[in-house]
Every structure is written in C-alpha cells, then in structure tokens.
C-alpha cells in the first residue's frame, strides 16, 4: 500500500492502524519493521503505538530511524562482521562512537596522503568527510565513484580515494564505527544475515536515503507487504543529506492513494512550492513580507512582533522562527522576548557554556603541572566553582595578575601560597584525581563542584556530551592518546546537533531553528517567522572541491555537470524546503529580510525574491529631481557608453541616484529588472548610501540593484552559484581582514630576518605585485621579497584565505576562463554605472569591460581632477581619461557648493598647475549656479605664521569666533596625514574645543572604545592610570555626566573599596568585572546592550564582537586578546564597516585627512601645515621615499624616479584642489615656518602657494 500524505495528514495514525491490523491477523511484532526518518519521529511513533496498544504484551517492536537501523544490525550481529576481519585481535562489540573519534582517525590518515596542490588544513578533513558521507548514504560502489570523478574532472580523485580507503582500514583496525561507517557495514551484514522481517511500514518515504532504499530492494522478495507513506513534494533532504526521490509506484507496482488534506495551509504550501519552482513571486494575505536595512532592525522588529502575539494570547509554542544564521547576536537579541526560547539548531562549541568552560579549565589544571592560568579564567573559577565571595575573587585575581606579570608564576604555586581554604582544598582535590583516566576526572569534578539543580540542566547535558566523547576515546584508544591533546580537541568540539537528542525539545517554548531542523522535527506552529530571507545562506549549496552533492547522488545519470544543473537542483530543493516549512504554520508566515548582514555586508541570493507583500507598505512615488542644464544629458541617457565628468559639488550622487531610479522605472532600457543594474562605488559607504536612498524611495523593493564596491562584486561573482569551484577555490574560503593580513605578513617579515616595522612596506608591495601585469615570483629580483611573498602565499593557501587583491584576481580569472559564467553575468549586466571612475584600478576597468561586453551600456562618472589615490593604491586615472576621450562625455561643471571666491581660487589652482604639472588636471573648470552658491566677502585666506603654536592658536581662536556667531556652522580641519589628526585633536582638547575625529581607527568607534575601556579595567583593577583611562572613556557618556568627581577620588582611595558606591559608574564596572564567564566575548553583547540599546550603535556591537572573536580564536586568552585589541585600536582599519549616521552632528568641528574629506563639505575649512614637505607643488620639493622605489622596482617595467616624482607632484595638486573645494563659505590655508618634530624645532619651507608675495597674510 502506498499513500500520499503530508505532515498534516494523520499518517502516523493510519500507519499504526495498519500495524495493529497486522498484529491482529497473527503477524508477530518482531516480523514488522517500521522505518521513520529520525529519532524524534521514532519516539512519537512508539508513544502513539504504545498508547493505542491494548493492555498486556506489546511485543518486540522494531521501530527504527533510517540511521538507527544500521546501528541495530551492527549491535546485534557484530560477530558476523568480526569474523570477516583478518586482524586476530578481536573485541566482543564494535565501538559505535561519535563523529569526534572518526574525525581524529581521519585527521591522522590525511597526514599520510599528500594532496598535491591542495592541503588546506582547515577544509580538507571537512571536505573528505562530506565526500565519504555522500558515498555511504548513496551506497555508491567503486565504479559509480570513478564515473563521478570523471564527470567532475576531479584533480584530487585518487588522493581522495586513497584517504577514504585508509580511513576505512583504520576504523576497522580500531573497530570504531561512527554512524556512516555503521551504514557502510550494514550493507555487508544484511547481505549475509537472514532477514527477520516480513512486513515493512515506511513513514517519511520521501526522505529515505538511497542506502536504506538499497536495503529494501534487497529484501523485497521476502516482504509480504509494504505500507508506504510519502509526500510527493517532500524530499527536503535532497542533496547533501541525500534524500532519494523514489518511485514507489514503480517499485511496488501499486497505485498510490492520495490522502493529503485539503486545507488552506496545504494550498498555501503548494502555492509556495510552485512559485519557487517556477521562479515566480507569490503574494498572499497570510504571508507578511518585510524588508529592513540593517539586520538588527529586522531582529528587533521580529522580537516586537512576537511580543505582540504573546500579549494577544498566542502561546510561545505556537511561534517558530527559522533562520540559517543562529549566531550569538540573534541569541542575545531573543533574550529580550522574556519567554522560553529554544534554539533547535545552530552549532556551538562545548566550552561556550560557562560551566563547561570552567570544568575544561579544571581538567587542564589537573593534567598540567606547570600551567599559567589566564587571570580572567581564574576569576571565573573562583566565582563559579570555588564559590568565593566577589571581593575574595577580585583580590585573588588581582594578586595573580600581579604575580603572574610576564608569566612568572605558576597557578598551582600561587594557589598554594594564597591564604584561602577553598583554594587549598581545590588544589588537593585536583592533585588527588590527576592520575585517574579523564572520564573519571570529569565525573569527580562534576560531582564535587556542580550542583544538580534545574538551573544547571543545560550545562549538565553538555557536560555529559563531553563525558560521552571522552568515554568514546577511552574505549577506542584505551590509553593511546594524550590527555591534553584530547582536552584541546574536545574544547573546540562543535556541537552541530543541538539539542543533543530529540527528546530535549521542550513543548512550551518558542522554537528557533534552521529550516531543516524545523521540518525534521515536524514542529507544528501557528506563526512562522522566516528571518534573513535575503541571505544566500537560506539556499545551501553543498558543493565543494572534493564533494558534489548532486553528482554524488545515486540517481545522477548525466555525463556532465553544468552550473545550470546546480541552479535548477538547488531551486527544486528550496521549493521543497519552503513547502514543508509552510506546512508547519497554520496562521501567518513572515518573510523578513535585511539589506545587510550583521557585519554590514550586503545580502544577496536569498529566498525573499519569491515573495511579495500583499498590500503595499508605502506607495508614495519617488521624489522627482529637476535637473540643471549640465545635469540633463545624464538623465537623458538612452544607451551605450557615456562618461560623466562632474566637478566637486555638482550634485553627482543625486543625479546618479535619479538615473538609477529612472532606470528602475523601466522607461530607459526595456525589460530591465533591478538585478540588471550594476552600480560600482569606490567606497562601501557610498554603496550603502545608494542602497539606503533607493530603499527610501522604494520601501517594498526586495531585490535592490547590484550596488557594491568592486571587491563586493568580485566576491558575489565568486560565491554565487558556487562559481568559485571553477577557479579551484574551496567553498569555505575566507577573506582576511587587514589585521589578520598584517599579522601574517609581519610574521613573514620577522622570519625573514627583517625588522617588524618593514611590515607596512611589504603589505603594500605584495598588493602591488599581485596587481602588476607579471605575477611570476621567480622573475622578481629582490630575494627578501621573494621569501616574504612565498611565505605569505603559503600561509594563505594553507588556511584557505583570500586577500582583497585575490578576490578581484579570481573573479577576473573566472570570467575570462569560464564562458558560461561570463555569459551569465554579461546577460545580467544590462547597464553598468561606475562612480568615482578616476580611482578605478586597471583590474576594475578590465572587469567592467568584460561585464559590459554584451549590452555595451556603461556609464562612468568621476572627476579626473579629484584623482587622489594613485600614489598609494592601484588606481589609475589614465583609464578614465581615455574613456572620456573615446566616448560621449557629459560635463557637469556647475557647482552650488562653494562661494564664488573659493571657486575662483580652485580654478586658479588648475591654471597654476599647468606651469609645474601640466598633466595634473583636465581643463574642466567649476562654474557657479546662478543665485545658488553661498555668498561671502572674503572666501579664501592664506596665513603664514612664524611658529607652529601661532598657527594652532589662530585656528582655535577663529573656530571660537565662528561658533560664537553661529553654533550650527560646520567646520572641517583637513590634514595631510593621519598622525597629524591625533596631534591636532589633543591640541583642541586642551583648548576645550570639542572635535570629532573622522579617522578609520577602531577606537574612533564608540562601541569599540567602550568595550576596550571596560576590558582594560577588568584586566587590571589596581593600576590607577588604567582605571583613569577607562573612566575617562565612560564619563563621555551622558548617563555619567554628573559623576565626573569620581576622577578626582581615585587618587585617594582604592577603587575597589566601597567609597565609590555612590557612583553608578562604579557599580556598572563592578557588574561587568564580576560577570562570571570563561568566555570574554559574551561580555561584549552585555556591554553593548547596556550602553547602546536600540540605537544605531547597537548594530556595531556585532562588528566589535566579530573583531574580538577573530583575535580570540588565535590568542586564546582574554589577556592576550586584550593586548592585541589595544595594539590595533588606533591603527587605520578599513575592513570593519561600522554603521554610521549619514550626517555628522550639526555644527560639529571635524578633523580628518584631505583624502578622507573627499565627498564631504563644510561651511568653514582649515588646511594647516601646508609646508613644501607636506604639500610639494614643485618637482624639486618632491622627495621619493625608499619604499616607493623598492615597490616600483618589483614591477616588470618600473618607472624612473623622475616619472614617479612627477606623478606625486600631480597628485599633490589634485589633493590641494580637493581640499579647497570642500569649503562652502570660507577657506583658510595656512603654514608656519617652524614645526616641532621629535621635540626639536625645525624650519620648513612653505609650499608654493605661499611663495608669491602678497598672496598671503604674514603673521
């Protein structure tokens, strides 16, 4: 019998009825095999069966999940397999162990096999395990595997085969069988043992694996009747999880009965299936579609909606949340619901649980004699385990911090000397257990220190998971493993199965799960929230270098694998997953998405595109822009290539936005969709600005145009549809941020025997080399570069890392070498708009050219006269100049930003440059817009001072005057270098002038600064200077405004004494200090939530978390992590894209570099320190740095010194021009004749603009 059913049909009841019908007819229970998908379903089935059974003997019931069937066979019949093994040593039972043991074995096997050209330490194991899983679950024989190797043209097929063979041998040797190996041996057993079953009841037949189906095929002739429940639209586990779509009608030669229910829920699920399958957009009044800009907004909105539902009487168990990204951020935010929330999925490390973390530390202490303990951990142990009072714990920790300065004091020695009974007892205890096996040690520690209370239930479950793993190891390897190695491995064990068993899903909680988990657990709810719908994580693409989930399916019968196959198959699976999810919710489904992920990176490729809001949220038409005459040709664009040369303040961003909106209306290019519009910006901030402004105009727009930086686009091209596989990249490749990159290069530099401070030079050199036309390292002459580059390259490859240059290089390689991918993107890119085209690098221009080849619609906007990045980046203004020459050029030369005198001065700069640097500018002059520009009488002032301090005092005084007249006026102080910013900021602080530093350092972000300040306090609660620094940072917050007196008191009293209890700041710091956890990262969310609740800054908390997390991964202790955080706090950092307010505070005084000021405008602008050294405007003033020549000489055709000097000179002019054109009403250019450098007064020559007598005021 076959019947079609869904999870909502009463299929289990039907199957159970059938079961009892059989039993009543005289069939023995042991002759009936019931197969269900998983353990939870088994439990449900058995409970129902028990319930329905009459009082008396129920019999030996055989209900198994697909995997447990194999395990049961092995448990009962192992001897049969054992007799086949040649090894004379022979245990009575096999070790049916967890994956951790097999990973350990596999790891050792890999060491013996060299994967030529691919030995990523990070992923090889993972990839091989996945390959092995696919082979086993699909019951592939050797010939089938070889066929697939050929289809995929696998480079590492032989190595993979050898590795798996060795692994199988080793597991046999140890008789250590995880669930996959069990399935593997199951095949041998069922073919060699008498089949005990006569009847098969098969539930969830749509999720059956080929391995199980092979078994059913094998015993088919023995079976009197099959009773099969199947959902023809099910099979959500297609692909990596290896569900097989089996034609049972054909297999059994029977017609199925359709018992699917005809409910509204089913109809909606069916509509969703169709929409996804056919790439349509579905609108349904019970599907609420919401799209947000930031992820935190999306999460908080969900939290509020859930709260509302609960307030209106919905039970928590009637609400479920599905997201592929169950990160700490989400967990933290969901705590705010104040209801039981159960996370059904989301991997986590065992030691993330504070108690488990603490116990692992004790295990280490018991097994290492000469151990230094992180004081942070010691504090946690003191509070959590030894139960010392807060004051005792603080004293203990502080004393150890002092004693252990520079790792001088072993923890055991310290505790022995420390006068505390509990500490001494602890020492005796760990000494007493140290010779016991690990499992015994763990049990003893738990029994002594962990209370069996319901509050500790979760921790106890995890501790038992740890114990289970230790037991597994001890059983398999007896004592042939190192205790410490095992502790380390277990510490980092990731529980992918969460909860640890299906029994633990509570019945009264809101469930947060991955889609698959919710489906597998058949969670029945009313309201289903799908979060992160714009993220590609929703559509899992399980394809890696050594495994391909589609081709490794048993049913794969094509001779080739094309990218389209992946797209279609993945789409089919997505349809099935969403269909099954929809069956889990009877009332409403919420489709929530955000433009950005937690780290501020744009989401793409999600499932939101299949849904459309039933009612439009905001239908107001976009604001129309009336263009000026010089702007009009841009909006009149029809097709082809066009350059837009836009002078500063000409409204370029506004007009480009207007053009994008016009394109979106569809009136310019036919059948254009948002995905066909590619917009490339130079900075991520500009891309964000465009996206957010489009979103403001079209709030309902789900898929925005493709707006990104060139690196963002490259990453997308590589990741979309798993394209990276075509350039031999592994799917888990990671992008190094600049901190990590610097770390790797620094280590290569030091290892090469060079000074650490050469790091910066090599950072630049490596990037330049990668971007040059010849990247053959053998041809480079410099031996030191060769060595450092090779070492860097090896580390990157081994860790599967890419730097930003690689992104572009790989994307280009992909487009050039793979015709199909190239055509895909060329078809997609109906129009490409590039912003800041003057800063475009040759590689970026190449990419644009390739993408635009088919449609030929390319618009490049920029201002050649503002090209200011060529001397320190790979940008090349010549390309844009050529584009202007060869194509239609629209000159947007009117600007209403600057006063007329400032415009004149800027234009004069262009004229004057012709004498010294004729190539610096294109002769595009700024023109005012009639009646629109600010009117002023004295637009530009040049001031020459004798001494530095006079210049500074003058600027401070002038700012005061400006502010006295009008507080709202904005002021910009623009400097040549970053280091000057700190110097000037300090000066203004002394002068009591509040300034905002606009600098890309982590410490310039208030969240980072606050977290760091509190961490520094936690690290040392005695050092007055340290405490003072922390207090100063926190006192900047309005909440502590009235507590400034705390600063003066710390000199007199011990800060940890009660004298400070009148200050809320003291209590807050004490709270964070005593927050007992072994994981410092947890504190970051606590701090973030406390200080930045519901603000834009809260969105930055997760970025700070991510920075700290990356450091913590390598540094391992709180103290070392903190050291690194302090080290990088004031360095320039461009990879963290903090969210910032679009406009700075009105009337702020902002201080930044000239480079950073590009795109900004101020009522008043000061450009001080214009010495000829800072701003050389004559060739003889330009001095080449050694580094510049070194880097140039790495290139195949290095430029000579004169050319380099000339290029710097040209860029200086443009930099000055950029500075000048930031000013709206008044511009002050100044210089002093002497400046203090390294505490010495030194004379400097003012730059060329001060040379003409009379052009400046000499003070």
């Amino acid at each position: 019998m076959i019947f079609y059913s869904t999870i909502n049909s009463n299929k289990t009841d039907i199957l159970i009825e059938k079961y009892f019908e059989l039993v009543k007819s005289g069939v023995k229970p042991e002759e009936i095999l019931v197969l269900v998908q998983n353990g939870r379903k088994k439990k449900k089935f058995v409970e129902k069966l028990k319930n329905k059974a009459p009082v008396g003997n129920i019999g030996n019931i055989n209900v198994f999940s697909f995997f447990a069937l194999a395990r049961n066979f092995l448990e009962r019949n192992f001897v049969s397999a054992e007799n086949m093994i040649k090894d004379p040593n022979s245990p009575v039972f096999a070790h049916l162990c967890g994956l951790e043991v097999s990973q350990y074995i596999f790891k050792n096997c890999i060491k013996e096999i060299e994967f030529k050209g691919y030995n990523s330490k990070v992923n090889l194991l993972h990839q091989l395990l996945r390959r092995y899983s696919l082979i086993v679950q699909n019951a592939l024989c050797n010939d089938e595997i070889k066929k697939r190797e050929k289809i995929l043209k696998e480079a590492y097929a032989k190595e993979a085969r050898d590795a798996i063979k060795l692994y199988k041998l080793k597991t046999l040797e140890y008789r250590a069988f995880d669930y996959l190996r069990q399935v593997n041996i199951f095949e041998y057993l069922y073919k060699n043992i008498k089949n005990p079953y006569r009847y098969i009841i098969l539930d969830d037949a749509d999720e059956i694996t080929p391995a199980v189906f092979e078994y059913l095929k094998y015993i088919k002739s023995d079976i009197k009747e099959f009773i099969v429940a199947q959902d023809p639209l099910g099979s959500s586990r297609l692909g990596y999880l290896s569900a097989a779509i089996v034609d049972f009608e054909k297999f059994l030669g029977q017609k199925p009965l359709d018992l699917r229910e005809d409910s509204e829920k089913s109809k909606r699920a069916f509509k969703i299936f169709n929409a996804v399958k056919n790439n349509l957009q579905l609108s349904d009044e019970n599907i609420i579609v919401k799209s947000f800009i930031r992820r935190d907004e999306m999460i908080f909105d969900t939290v509020e909606e859930i709260k509302k539902l609960i307030d209106n009487g919905t039970k928590p168990s009637q609400i479920a949340v599905v997201t592929p990204i169950t990160d700490d951020y989400l967990r933290f935010c969901f705590k705010k619901i104040k209801q039981d929330v159960f996370f059904l999925s989301g991997s986590e490390k065992l030691n993330q649980n504070p108690l488990v973390g603490a116990i692992i530390e004790i295990l280490k202490l018991a097994n290492i004699d000469d151990m230094f303990l992180s004081p942070f951990i010691l504090k946690s142990l003191a509070l959590e385990i030894l139960k010392l009072s807060p004051d005792e714990a603080i004293t203990l920790t502080q004393k150890y911090t002092e004693a252990n300065y520079c790792r001088k004091k072993l923890i055991k020695e310290f505790l022995l000397e420390f006068d505390n009974d509990k500490a001494k007892d602890f020492l005796h205890f760990i000494e007493a257990i140290k010779n016991e096996p690990l499992s015994v040690q763990l049990f003893e520690i738990c029994t002594k220190y962990i209370k069996k209370t319901p509050q500790n239930q979760n921790s106890i479950l995890k501790l038992n998971k740890l114990a289970k793993q230790i037991n597994d190891f001890e059983e398999v390897f007896t004592s042939h493993f190192k205790k410490l190695q095992l502790i380390e491995q277990l510490e980092n064990t990731i529980i992918s199965e969460n909860p640890l068993s299906e029994d633990e899903i509570p019945e009264s909680s809101i469930i947060v799960a991955s889609a698959q988990k919710l489906i597998d657990s058949e969670i029945d709810t009313k309201y289903l929230f799908l979060l992160d719908c714009s993220s590609s994580e929703h559509i899992k693409q399980d394809i890696g270098m050594l495994y391909n989930s589609w081709v490794f399916q048993k049913s794969w019968n094509k001779s080739e694998f094309e990218p389209d196959d992946n797209i279609k198959l993945t789409q089919d699976r997505t349809a099935r997953i969403l269909y099954k999810l929809a069956l889990c919710a009877s009332e409403k489904i919420y489709i929530n998405s955000s433009i950005y992920d937690t780290l501020g990176i744009e989401n793409y490729g999600g499932i939101d595109k299949y849904f459309k809001s039933a009612k439009s949220l905001n239908t107001s038409a976009p604001k129309k822009i009336i263009p000026r005459d010089d702007q009009k040709p841009v909006l009149d664009y029809k097709s082809g290539k066009m350059a837009v040369s836009a002078v500063a303040g000409s409204g370029k961003t506004t007009i480009m936005l207007a053009l994008i909106l016009k394109l979106l209306e569809g009136s310019v290019i036919e059948n254009i969709k948002s995905e066909n519009i590619f917009v490339l910006t130079f900075m991520e901030s500009a891309a964000r600005n465009f996206r957010e402004r489009i979103k403001q105009n079209y709030p309902d727009m789900v898929e925005l145009p493709q707006i990104s930086t060139i690196h963002g686009l490259a990453l997308k091209i590589l990741k979309e549809n798993n394209n990276y596989t075509f350039v031999n990249l592994d799917n888990d490749f990671e992008i190094t941020d600049e901190n990590k990159r610097r770390e790797i290069i620094a280590s290569a530099v030091v290892n090469a025997g060079l000074e650490y401070d050469k790091t910066e030079l090599y950072e630049r050199a490596i990037s330049d080399f990668k971007n040059s036309s010849c990247t053959d390292i053998k041809k480079v002459k410099s031996p030191s570069f060769k060595r450092i580059f090779s070492s860097y390259d090896a580390v990157m490859k081994e860790n599967n890392l890419l730097d930003y240059d690689d992104l572009l290089i790989f994307a280009l390689r992909l487009l050039k070498t793979n015709r199909e991918v190239r055509l895909h993107y060329q078809n997609l890119a109906k129009i490409i708009i590039e912003d800041e085209a003057q800063d475009s690098s040759p590689k970026q221009q190449e990419l644009i050219t390739i993408l635009g080849e088919k449609h030929g619609n390319i618009i490049r906007c920029g201002d050649v006269n503002q090209a200011i990045t060529a001397t320190f980046s790979n940008s090349d203004v010549k390309g844009f100049k050529k584009f202007i020459r060869e194509n239609k050029n629209v000159e947007m030369n009117k600007s209403q930003r600057c006063g007329v005198k400032i415009i004149d001065f800027a234009n004069k700069t262009i004229d004057e440059a012709f004498s010294f640097a004729p190539e610096a500018f294109l002769n595009i002059k700024m023109h005012p817009v009639e009646g629109k520009n600010p009117s002023n009488s004295d637009g530009v002032e040049l001031k020459l001072f004798e001494k530095q301090i006079e210049e500074k005092k003058f600027i401070a005084e002038t700012i005061r005057k400006i502010k006295a007249q009008n507080r709202e006026k904005s002021i910009g102080i623009l400097l040549r270098s970053n280091w000057q910013i700190t110097q000037w900021a300090n000066f203004f602080e002394e002068e009591n002038i509040k300034v905002e530093k606009n600098i890309d350092t982590l410490n310039n972000n208030v969240v980072f600064k606050t977290v760091l300040a509190i961490f520094n306090f936690i690290n040392d609660t005695k050092n007055i200077k340290n405490i003072k620094n922390t207090l100063e940072v926190l006192l900047e917050m309005p909440r502590y405004k009235s507590e400034i007196a705390i600063l003066s008191e710390i000199e007199q009293n011990d800060f940890m004494s009660d004298n400070f209890s009148k200050y809320s700041l003291w209590w807050d710091l004490r709270y964070f200090l005593l927050k007992s956890t072994t994981n410092p990262l947890e504190l970051i969310f606590e701090i973030g939530d406390y200080y930045f609740k519901n603000t834009l800054e809260f969105a930055n908390v997760s970025m700070v978390y991510s920075i700290a997390q990356k450091i913590y991964q390598t540094q391992k202790t709180f103290e070392d992590m903190l050291f690194r955080m302090n080290e990088i706090a004031n360095r320039l950092n461009k990879s963290t894209k903090f969210f910032t307010k679009e406009d700075s505070t009105a009337g702020a005084v902002r201080i930044m570099t000239l480079h950073k000021a590009k795109g900004d405008e101020f009522d008043f602008v000061f450009i001080p320190e214009l010495t000829s050294e800072n701003m050389g405007l004559k060739i003889e003033d330009i001095k080449l740095k050694k580094n510049t020549e070194f880097i140039e000489n790495l290139k195949p055709e290095p430029k000579d010194a004169q050319t380099l000097k000339q290029e710097i000179l040209e860029e200086n002019y443009r930099l000055l021009y950029v500075g000048i054109t930031r000013a709206k009403t008044k511009l002050y250019l100044s210089c002093a004749k002497t400046y203090k450098m390294y505490k010495k007064e030194k004379s400097y020559k003012p730059c060329e603009i001060f040379v003409k007598e009379g052009s400046y005021e000499h003070i």
Binding site: G56, V79, K468
Partner: protein, 212 residues
C-alpha cells in the same frame, strides 16, 4: 514518564527525589563504565552470540584468559547442551499495564492517588528464554553475585509478571546464574496480584504530575 524498567523502579523505590533528578530532569553526571561492567557486557554478548548460533571462536580466542575461562565454563553447563531450547536471547520486552488492573482490587487506591485511571509500561530485556517441558525459564546472567533474596527481588517481580503476560503462561520462572561463581537460583511465578501491587505501589511514589 510512563515506562519503567527494573532499574528505574528500584531507583524510584529507593529515593523519589533522586529518581526525578536522574530520570526526569536528567540532572545526573554520566559516569564511565567500570571494568567489571564491561566484562559483564562482554560475557552477556558472547553468550547471546552463542545461543543465536554464531561462530564465536575467533572472538573467544582473543579474549583475556580469565574471561575466556568463565565463558567456557558457562557454555559447558548442561543448559547450553540443548541450545535449541533457548527460544530467545537478548530479547527486549514491553508490557502495557493499567492501574485499574483486571480484577479491580487496586482501582480505589489508584483513584485516590491520581484521581483517574492511568496506563504505564514495563520494559526490559531478557538475557535468554529457555523452554523445556512446558516451562519457560527466564535466564539472567549475573557477573558475580546473584540476588540475596531472589523471591522478593524486584527483578523477579517485574520479570515474572511481564514474562507471564508475554508467554501467557503461569509455568514460568526466573533463574539467576552467577557467571564467575557458577551458582544459580531459581524463582517460580507465584502471585500476579501481589507482583502487580508491588510494582504499582512503587510507581505511585512518583508525583502524578510526572506521570504522562
């Protein structure tokens, strides 16, 4: 909770709070099996393999000599000469019971306890079932010691009660056999009502909110 084994019943009988902590709230630490438990499991496994007709020579020869000796001594016992009389080995069982039992004697008490009739299940695993001359003998291999008071041991109560239901027979007994010492003792089925009441009285110790 609705399903009980001999071990869980013993735990409930001994200390209700500990039982709740361990089996319901899952507040218990996992302890590694000791050598003696492992040895017991191995011997159980080998006897079962033997009864079910597998070739155990290879494994037996790889066993530690003392274990091998015990196994050989056991398998040379009279009962193993008639291997065919073993009708089951390592056989799990599941028996459904109603607090309102068939002759109704406990109905009143039960209602006082829970206010309603309720079902519960008894589960376990018979090491072996031997059938000879109309008698079912449930064999239970003990590594070392056999129960001191086998007649009243809860295992006898539960196994004989369940055995009588499973085989619909009164001619049934449980035989404990110490593998190391070679001693054995046998308890014959006596009073179903007393068995049931003893089991039910233990289950009644569990607060009704935990009975599902």
């Amino acid at each position: 909770m609705n399903t009980f084994s001999v071990n869980t019943l013993k735990s409930l009988d001994g200390n209700t709070d500990e039982f709740i902590n361990k089996y319901i709230l899952k507040l218990d630490f996992l302890n590694a099996k000791n050598q003696s438990t492992r040895r017991g499991e191995r011997l159980h496994g080998m006897i079962s393999y033997y009864i079910r007709g597998f070739d155990i020579e290879k494994i037996k020869n790889a066993m530690a000599s003392d274990e091998k000796e015990i196994l050989e001594k056991t398998l040379s016992l009279e009962i193993f000469k008639n291997r065919a009389n073993f009708i089951k080995s390592e056989e799990p069982f599941l028996v459904k019971c109603s607090s309102y039992n068939t002759n109704g004697t406990t109905a009143q008490k039960t209602q006082q306890h829970t206010g309603a009739n309720f079902n519960f299940y008894l589960t376990g695993r018979f090491d072996a079932i031997y059938f000879d001359k109309g008698e079912y003998i449930i064999y239970d291999w003990k590594s070392k010691n056999i129960p001191k008071d086998p007649e009243n041991d809860l295992q006898s109560v539960v196994y004989l009660y369940c055995g009588s239901k499973i085989f619909s027979a009164k001619n049934i007994s449980i035989c404990y056999l110490s593998l190391e010492k070679g001693q054995s003792t046998k308890v014959h089925f006596s009073d179903e009502k007393l068995y049931f009441e003893r089991i039910l009285n233990i289950i009644k110790k569990l607060p009704s909110k935990y009975l599902t």
